[in-house]
C-alpha cells in the first residue's frame, strides 16, 4: 500500500521489511561489543526509518535540504543502520563499532558521515534543532529540521526552555518526535514521573501542534507529519515499546544497555526474520 501526501510517499510493506533488516543489523553489531543501547534503538526504528525514507527530501546527489538530529543520542544504532543502508556510512565502519581505529561509538559524533550533531548527554538536541530551524527560516530556505527525543529526556529543564522558544519563534519547520517508550535507565517513566502525562496537552499548552500516534506504525507517523498545519512546531508523541521486535526484550528494563548471549541472539534473529 502506498500513502501519498504531497512531498513524498510511504510504502508500508517496504518500511516493515527495512525495519526488520535494521533490527537484524543492530543485532549483528551486538556481537562485537559487551553492551549497546539496543532497547532504546529498537523503540525508535520506525520513527527514524520514516524520517529518512519518507519525510526527508533527497536531491539527485543524495544530499537533503532537510536535517535530522537524534537528540536521544544513545539510540544511534538505528541511525547508523539507516545511514549504512543509504550508502552514507560505509559498512566497514559499523563493523568497527566501538573498536579502536573505528569512528563509531555509543553516541553520535558530529562530522561522522551523516551525523549532524554530537549528542548523547540528554537535553541538548532540541535547542540545537531550534537554532538550525531558525537559521533555515532566517536565510529564507525551506529546510525542515527533524529531531527525535526520548521521553525520559523531557525531565531535563533545557528541553522545556527550547520548547517554549520554538513555539515563540513560530518554527513551523521544526518536526520533533518523542520516543515515548515509558522506560528510562532505572525504571518506567510513568512510575517515576506520573505527572508527565498526558504529554500531548503539555506541548499544546506550550504553543505546539501535537499528536499522539502508535510509534511502530510507519503510516501513522508519516501522516501525523504530512497533515500538520505547518505554522507551529510539531511534536509527534510516539507510543513505543522498548526493545520492540524481540519478544524477550520488549518492556524489559535490562535491555536498555546489553548484548544478547548466543542463544538469545539466535532466538532474536528468528523472530526478526522476513516472513517466508
Amino acid at each position: 500500500m502506498i500513502v501519498s501526501a504531497g512531498q513524498n510517499t510511504i510504502c508500508v510493506e517496504a518500511a516493515k521489511a527495512r525495519c526488520r533488516k535494521f533490527r537484524r543489523r543492530i543485532l549483528e553489531v551486538t556481537k562485537l561489543v559487551q553492551a549497546l543501547h539496543i532497547g532504546g534503538a529498537y523503540s525508535c526504528v520506525e520513527i527514524v526509518d520514516t524520517i529518512y525514507f519518507a519525510l526527508m527530501r533527497r536531491e539527485s546527489d543524495g544530499r537533503s535540504p532537510d536535517t535530522f538530529l537524534l537528540s536521544k543520542g544513545h539510540g544511534c544504532m538505528i541511525q547508523y543502520a539507516v545511514l549504512e543502508e543509504l550508502g552514507i556510512l560505509p559498512r566497514s565502519e559499523l563493523d568497527q563499532f566501538c573498536k579502536g581505529g573505528g569512528i563509531l561509538g555509543v553516541h553520535p559524533d558530529y562530522q561522522n558521515p551523516g551525523i549532524e550533531a554530537s549528542t548523547g548527554a540528554l537535553g541538548h538536541g532540541l535547542a540545537m534543532a531550534v537554532g538550525m530551524a531558525y537559521a533555515e527560516k532566517a536565510k529564507g530556505r525551506d529546510g525542515i529540521v527533524y529531531c527525535v527525543l526520548s521521553d525520559g529526556e523531557a525531565q531535563e529543564g533545557s528541553v522545556w526552555e527550547a520548547t517554549l522558544m520554538a513555539s515563540s519563534l513560530g518554527l513551523g519547520n521544526l518536526v520533533v518526535f518523542m520516543d515515548n517508550n515509558d522506560f528510562q535507565s532505572l525504571e518506567r517513566t510513568s512510575k517515576s514521573h506520573p505527572s508527565f502525562y498526558p504529554v500531548v496537552e503539555k506541548f499544546r499548552a506550550f504553543g505546539w501542534e501535537s499528536h499522539e500516534v502508535p510509534g511502530h506504525d510507519s503510516r501513522a507517523i508519516y501522516e501525523a507529519v504530512v497533515s500538520r498545519g505547518g505554522n507551529r512546531p510539531l511534536m509527534v508523541v510516539c507510543r513505543t515499546v522498548k526493545g520492540k521486535g524481540v519478544s524477550y526484550m520488549e518492556n524489559v528494563a535490562m535491555w536498555h544497555y546489553r548484548s544478547p548471549s548466543s542463544a538469545e541472539y539466535e532466538l532474536a534473529m528468528t523472530e526478526l526474520a522476513d516472513p517466508s
Binding site: S118, Y134, A135, A138, E161
Partner: protein
C-alpha cells in the same frame, strides 16, 4: 568596554551577514539596540534561558551562521556549562560566548553574579579559546577577530563600562594568540589581562618614577592558546616578572607563567597577584572588593619592591 564591543559587532555585522546575536534577557542598549533594529532577524532574545541560548547558537553555527551568545559572564559560562562544553567545544563550532562584566566587577550584586574563576573554568575545556582584552581599544580588535574567525569557539571576557584605554600608542599591535607589549623595558615585566591591567600600568609608572626602573607592560589578551614562547622570552629578559589577574589563584595566568619559568629554569623572580580563593560578602565599590581580595596597587607595589 561593552559599548565598544557592541559598536564593533554592529560594524562587523554590516560586513559579515552571518553574524547573529543571541542574548539572554539582557538589555540591548546602545549599539546592541542598533544591531537589533538593523538586523531584526539576526537578533534573538531567548529570555532567561541560557542553556537554550548556547544550544541555539550551536544550531545556528551548524547551519553556517557566526553567532555570538551574549549575557553577563556567570550566565553565559556557568549556567549552561555543559552546553558550552558539548555543543560548542566538542563540536568545535566558531561561536563566541561573550562573558560581560567578568571577574568581580558587579561588586554590589554579590558572588552569585561574579566570575572569579571563569578563566580557570573556560581554559579547562578543550578547543575553547579564551580572550580577555584589557581596554576598549583592544576589545575592538578582539571582537573583530571573533566576528570573522572560523577556527572554533571563543570565550570573550569583557568588563563593563568606563575602562580607560591602555593600549593607545602600544608598542605592538593586537594579534590573536600572541602576547602584546604595550611598552617595553628591561628590569620588571608586568603581565595581565582584562581591565585589571590598569593596575599594572599604574604600578609600572610608579616603578619608573620612584625607582628608575625600566618596565615592560604586557597584555596577555589571549589566555588560551597561551603564547608560551612569548612569555618565555619575557621571563628570560627581565629580572622580575609580575602577574596581576582578576581570577582565582589557580588555573589562570599566574600559575602558567610559573610553569613556564620552572620549565626554563628561569632566574627571574616571579610574583603573582590574584583574587583569593574565597567568596567575599562585600557589597560596594569594585576597587574596594578587589582590595579585600588583596588586589590593590599599594600592596602589590610594596610586595614586589620589598618596601614596607
Amino acid at each position: 568596554m561593552r559599548n565598544r564591543f557592541a559598536e564593533t559587532l554592529y560594524q562587523c555585522a554590516l560586513e559579515n551577514p552571518e553574524i547573529y546575536v543571541v542574548v539572554a534577557d539582557i538589555s540591548p542598549a546602545g549599539s546592541m539596540a542598533k544591531f537589533r533594529e538593523q538586523h531584526p532577524s539576526r537578533f534573538l532574545n531567548v529570555g532567561v534561558a541560557e542553556q537554550t541560548m548556547i544550544g541555539i547558537c550551536a544550531g545556528l553555527s551548524l547551519k553556517g551562521c557566526q553567532p555570538f551568545a551574549y549575557t553577563i559572564a556567570n550566565f553565559s559560562l556557568y549556567r549552561p556549562f555543559e552546553m558550552v562544553r558539548n555543543d560548542l567545544c566538542y563540536q568545535n563550532l566558531p561561536v563566541t560566548v561573550v562573558g560581560m562584566g567578568a571577574g568581580v566587577v558587579y561588586s554590589t550584586l554579590g558572588s552569585t553574579h561574579h566570575t572569579q574563576e571563569d578563566v580557570a573554568v573556560a581554559s579547562a575545556i578543550p578547543n575553547l579559546r579564551v580572550l580577555s582584552p584589557c581596554d576598549p581599544l583592544e576589545t575592538n580588535e578582539a571582537t573583530r577577530y571573533c566576528a570573522f574567525q572560523k577556527e572554533g569557539p571563543v570565550y570573550l571576557r569583557l568588563g563593563k563600562t568606563g575602562e580607560p584605554n591602555l593600549t593607545e600608542g602600544a608598542l605592538e599591535p593586537f594579534s590573536f594568540g600572541r602576547i602584546r607589549r604595550i611598552r617595553a623595558g628591561r628590569d620588571t615585566a608586568i603581565l595581565g589581562y582584562g581591565p585589571i591591567l590598569r593596575m599594572g600600568a599604574a604600578i609600572a609608572e610608579r616603578l619608573e618614577r620612584e625607582r628608575g626602573e625600566s618596565v615592560s607592560l604586557v597584555s596577555v589578551h589571549t589566555i588560551k592558546p597561551l603564547d608560551k614562547a612569548g612569555i618565555a622570552a619575557i621571563i628570560g629578559s627581565h629580572r622580575r616578572v609580575v602577574v596581576i589577574e582578576e581570577n582565582v589563584p589557580h588555573g589562570g595566568l599566574g600559575s602558567r607563567v610559573k610553569e613556564i619559568a620552572w620549565d626554563m629554569k628561569a632566574r627571574a623572580d616571579v610574583q603573582c597577584f590574584s583574587l583569593r580563593d574565597e567568596f567575599i560578602h562585600y557589597y560596594g565599590e569594585h576597587e574596594e572588593l578587589l582590595r579585600l581580595h588583596g588586589l590593590d596597587e599599594a600592596r602589590i607595589y610594596a610586595a614586589i619592591t620589598g618596601s614596607p
